[in-house]
């Protein structure tokens, strides 16, 4: 079914997609003329296939559950923020805070993502085919962040248990973020993610893994004078 955001109100379109009749088999939607609108396809909870033709604004596919959403264009701040499950595929570039606080699912970005990509991610897998900006993976807690290009300043600052895989250069590492050994399990996981993102020209072995040194996990008595 085709939904035209030039003719229909955004709220109507989102309401329709959020309240799908489970008895019907109409699961495929195309959204045209998104024209940079915010919160397109936010809060979906059913297994839908949605194709958005054009550029969207902030918080596209926010809180997504189960839906498979493709954006044929660029996305603004906070794409797939707080996603729980499902798949969001951005064919263009993403603005800042892509996949912020997301708990699950897969976010694929074909272009670049700007600053704070994967900030506070809680279990989502994010695959960026281009590069990411500064403070990416900031305070990220679980999941995997894969970047085929370069990473900006302060990568993985104060991160917890997230694994960050970078193919290119890292401008600088944030506090408590260190390079870690690529074990077999990591190569296996990364290969799986590259496969899911349909990336064929990259080998998992050519990536470097970054994670937490875990030095900020516990209070150190030596630092008492800082408080």
């Amino acid at each position: 079914m085709k939904l035209d955001l030039k003719k229909l109100k955004l709220r109507k379109v989102n309401e329709q997609l959020q309240n799908i009749d489970r008895k019907k088999n109409d699961r495929n939607f195309t959204i045209i003329n998104p024209e940079g609108n915010h919160a397109v396809c936010a809060g979906l909870t059913e297994e839908l296939n949605i194709n958005i033709k054009g550029h969207v604004g902030y918080y596209c596919a926010g809180m997504n559950q189960k839906a498979n959403i493709t954006i044929e264009g660029n996305v603004g701040t906070g794409v797939a923020e707080n996603m729980m499950s499902g798949k969001v595929h951005v064919k263009g570039n993403a603005s800042q805070s892509a996949g912020a606080t997301a708990h699950g699912g897969l976010l694929i970005i074909d272009g670049d993502a700007s600053s704070r990509c994967g900030i506070s991610m809680k279990g989502v897998n994010i695959v960026v085919k281009g590069s990411v900006g500064h403070m990416s993976g900031f305070m990220s807690q679980a999941g995997n962040l894969v970047v085929c290009g370069d990473a900006g300043e302060a990568l993985g600052d104060s991160l917890y248990e997230t694994n960050i895989y970078i193919k290119g250069k890292v401008k600088s590492l944030g506090a408590d973020c260190v390079e870690k050994k690529m074990d077999k399990e990591h190569i296996k996981k990364l290969n799986l993610l590259l496969q899911e993102a349909n990336i064929k020209n990259q080998k998992a072995e050519s990536f470097k893994r970054y994670g937490s040194a875990k030095k900020l996990y516990n209070f150190k008595i030596d630092n008492i004078s800082n408080y």
């Binding site: 550029h55 660029n74 570039n93």
Partner: protein, 294 residues
């Protein structure tokens, strides 16, 4: 939060439509700034003649016209609501002094050979309509919709700020060291008409340009000297430049085609522009100065 927009035409194709393109951009940024709006349009400059953008506030136009033509013979006046564009060969030094003395209730919004500036409190859609922005032609333009944070909702507090010949600046963000910087710039001879932080940034740019620094160099040194959050668009007779602070909390997106470069706080401000879906669209990187035409 504020909305900033700018459009620079690389070819002559859309010169007649500049006002229309810019008004659509401003209208779409209403959600980011409903308190006041303003815009600067650059068009064909005549080196022999200056253009002064004046806001006559509550003064009666007929009375103003009568009084000013009595004193200065060689001038043309164009009225757009409470704004007047005065065209005259009189030099800024003389003319500004004259206006300040004879018409203290009139504010000088900007001046130069090319620039025309209009700004007023109120909803951006009303401001755009009031000045009939759609009818304007030109080579480039800059606009702003304001959500007031650190100073009052007044015409003086509205953007763009123009503190030098054919110069203007719009700003989304807030500066934390503007009081100190204002004091320093006052010592160097700059004058300010408001308590607004952006006016200080505009003064900083003017001061640097008057010392023969390029716009690009000026904005690069601004990254060190201006403390706070910002995305700036700085306009000159030749073009404009864009810069975001290194933290880059304030948004910006650029769309470039073979005919124009557009910049806005959000993509929705430029969704109506011709051929925008085939434009090269990117986010300006933090701490990098992007410049066109200069």
């Amino acid at each position: 939060m504020c909305g900033i927009v700018g459009i620079y035409l690389k070819t002559k194709k859309f010169e007649k439509n500049l006002g229309k393109m810019l008004s659509g951009m401003l209208n779409n940024m209403e959600s980011r700034g409903p308190d006041s709006a303003g815009f600067a349009i650059y068009k064909n400059s005549d080196k022999k003649e200056y253009k002064y953008s004046l806001c006559i506030n509550n003064l009666n136009f007929v009375k103003f016209k009568k009084n000013i033509t009595k004193e200065i013979k060689n001038l043309k006046l164009n009225q757009y609501s409470d704004h007047i564009i005065v065209k005259t060969p009189e030099t800024p030094k003389k003319f500004i002094k004259f206006i300040n003395k004879q018409f203290p209730e009139v504010s000088i919004v900007g001046y130069g050979h090319s620039i025309e500036i209009f700004k007023q409190v109120g909803n951006p859609k009303d401001v755009v309509k009031k000045f009939n922005l759609e009818s304007f032609s030109g080579t480039h333009g800059i606009g702003h919709t304001r959500m007031a944070t650190e100073s009052a909702i007044t015409t003086d507090g509205s953007h763009p700020y123009s503190t030098g010949e054919d110069e203007c600046l719009v700003h989304n963000g807030s500066l934390s060291n503007h009081n100190n910087l204002r004091r320093e710039l006052k010592k160097k001879g700059n004058t300010f008409t408001s308590e607004n932080d952006t006016e200080v940034a505009a003064g900083y740019v003017s001061n640097s340009l008057s010392n023969n620094n390029s716009l690009k160099k000026t904005l690069v040194s601004g990254l060190k000297d201006l403390d706070g959050f910002y995305t700036f668009i700085a306009g000159t007779r030749k073009g404009f430049a864009v810069v975001r602070d290194e933290i880059a909390c304030k948004p910006a997106v650029i769309a470039e085609t073979k005919n124009y470069v557009a910049i806005a706080s959000e993509f929705q401000a430029m969704a109506h522009l011709p051929d925008v879906n085939n434009a090269k669209i990117f986010e300006p990187e933090p701490g990098i100065v992007y410049s066109w035409g200069n």
